[in-house]
């Protein structure tokens, strides 16, 4: 199997690592040679991490080929993953550029969070193959991915995408309706905006906000989502009781939801410096490595719990056998 990975930023490199570690050959294209070099390094690290995570040996690693142009990369591919910058015109131009070389009947997946697949595909020759597959950073470890077909996307393409993503250890969620930002980034934007207000108003620092998330609902959500968690908040009387108890709070003036905070240079400076301070002596790279070690440990731990309602098992993970 061969994946063409177009764009080797944080997300593209993560896709390349996931594919190559799961035995796919990867044809990588990015005009920035440094991005390509980093992607190769990330893939080597990802392999070690996935080996720890999985109970069965990884497939023989795929081969990288570094391509000079995107049309060359998509030649004879079984999957194309586009992760170039969020620029509508540039993405559409890329699709036109690769259209002739693109094999029929394979998924052409965009990592975009900013555009709906039908917008991206409109009046392009690739509309029946194009869909959004929006992952989470780091792509090589986090199993979540939103699969959003467009109006013209063929059902077989969607089904093939869902199956192939599961083959590379992911847990795809089919997003049944095209909406701005899909599901995850709608949720994330809401919380992100509120967090920015807290920092903007000087109510709390980035570190205080992160501590509250990490020690509180972050730990909850690693193993059960928002609704599952709130169901438990109602005690034995369940979700209905929770909604009776806390539903009215939605009418209270809790959050500053109507306005957008201006990302002024001052606010950016404040966020950047508070974030740096939180990181202490750690470089971004060291922090990323730490995050990855943490995530491996979390995923191993959840797996050992045989967490039916938590992160599901994929085909590389055996079911836990109690003593």
């Amino acid at each position: 199997m061969k994946a063409a990975v177009l764009g080797a930023g944080v997300i593209g490199a993560g896709w390349a690592a996931r594919f190559v570690c799961h035995g796919w050959d990867v044809a990588l294209w990015d005009p920035d040679q440094r991005a390509v070099d980093r992607a190769l390094a990330v893939s080597a690290e990802a392999r070690a991490l996935l080996s720890e995570l999985y109970d069965v040996p990884l497939p023989v690693r795929g081969e990288f080929s570094i391509c000079k142009d995107p049309a060359e990369a998509v030649h004879a591919a079984d999957w194309v993953q586009e992760s170039i910058p969020e620029d509508f015109a540039v993405k559409r131009e890329l699709f036109t550029t690769i259209a002739d070389a693109l094999p029929a009947d394979i998924p052409l997946a965009s990592s975009t969070s900013g555009f709906k697949p039908s917008e991206l595909a409109a009046e392009t020759p690739v509309a029946t193959q194009l869909l959004v597959c929006h992952p989470f950073n780091p792509v090589y470890l986090l199993p979540g991915v939103e699969v959003v077909p467009g109006k013209a996307t063929r059902v077989q393409i969607r089904d093939r995408a869902m199956a192939l993503l599961a083959d590379i250890g992911m847990h795809p969620t089919h997003v049944r309706h095209e909406i701005d930002a899909h599901i995850a980034d709608r949720l994330l934007e809401a919380i992100w905006r509120e967090a920015l207000w807290l920092v903007h108003d000087g109510v709390a620092s980035t570190g205080e906000i992160d501590a509250v998330i990490r020690n509180g609902f972050g730990l909850r959500w690693a193993q059960m989502g928002l609704f599952e968690t709130y169901r438990l908040g109602g005690g034995e009387r369940g979700f209905r009781h929770f909604l009776e108890q806390f539903g009215p709070a939605l009418e209270w003036p809790w959050s500053k939801l109507t306005d957008v905070p201006e990302l002024s240079p001052e606010l950016i400076d404040r966020i950047v410096s508070q974030s740096d301070e939180q990181a202490g002596d750690l470089t971004v790279d060291a922090q990323r490595a730490q995050r990855d070690r943490n995530l491996v440990a979390l995923l191993r731990a959840l797996k050992a719990q045989n967490a039916g309602a938590g992160v599901g098992l994929n085909k590389f993970e055996r079911k836990f056998q109690p003593d």
Copy 2:
């Protein structure tokens, strides 16, 4: 040490369990005998879970005394934790009821998410001792707690509260400004409202939303918060690059932040039934037990990673020694 726990719902029972497992005697008051019985059962389960979590033996378990009235419970207490329903008048009446029996110089902590401490304390005789200590469910496992002093709260009371919470294995965050809903519930309400819209509009089910959270940003936030995570999203160029890249999206029409979805009977029914469906055969109790096992596993795993930027070590957890 003796804690008076007033109210034995989900949160009050969690506090009782945390205190008693860490060697405190607990004077428990709740007019509902079934709530008291459940709290005793929860405490027994919590002890087994905490034994797994900690590397050093737990202190000798404290003793429960079940009290007929709140004034009796607070007699000679070193801590009072109020977790009765979110009714402003009833809470204030309770404070008046216990005022005469309340020892001087001890924290009188409210678990409220709905009220600011200065509002609750205004013109009560307990204003200098009252502060909010807002925990996360399950209180006996999750280390996070928001400590919000009111205008009249004495600094010594706040400092004593922070120290005693650390003594029972928690990681308190001092919330420096009184705002509606403190920090966590501002964030949670923003995401909760958006999630309700998704369900209301039929865009996604509760299960789909939870899958996206759990397989994506939930796993991230168990070990690094929102800002720490986004810092990594910018790659080696860090947070500034991330803000340049994704800041403009805040102006895009992504989320439905201006309106409050009506919690109609139909919407409540939909949420309840989708949530039940997600849970499969699991009762709320079984699901809660599963959540707890997952959380123990997650916390053990993070500890083994010596996660400086993740969930910190408390005094019961030794630093991980590499081989």
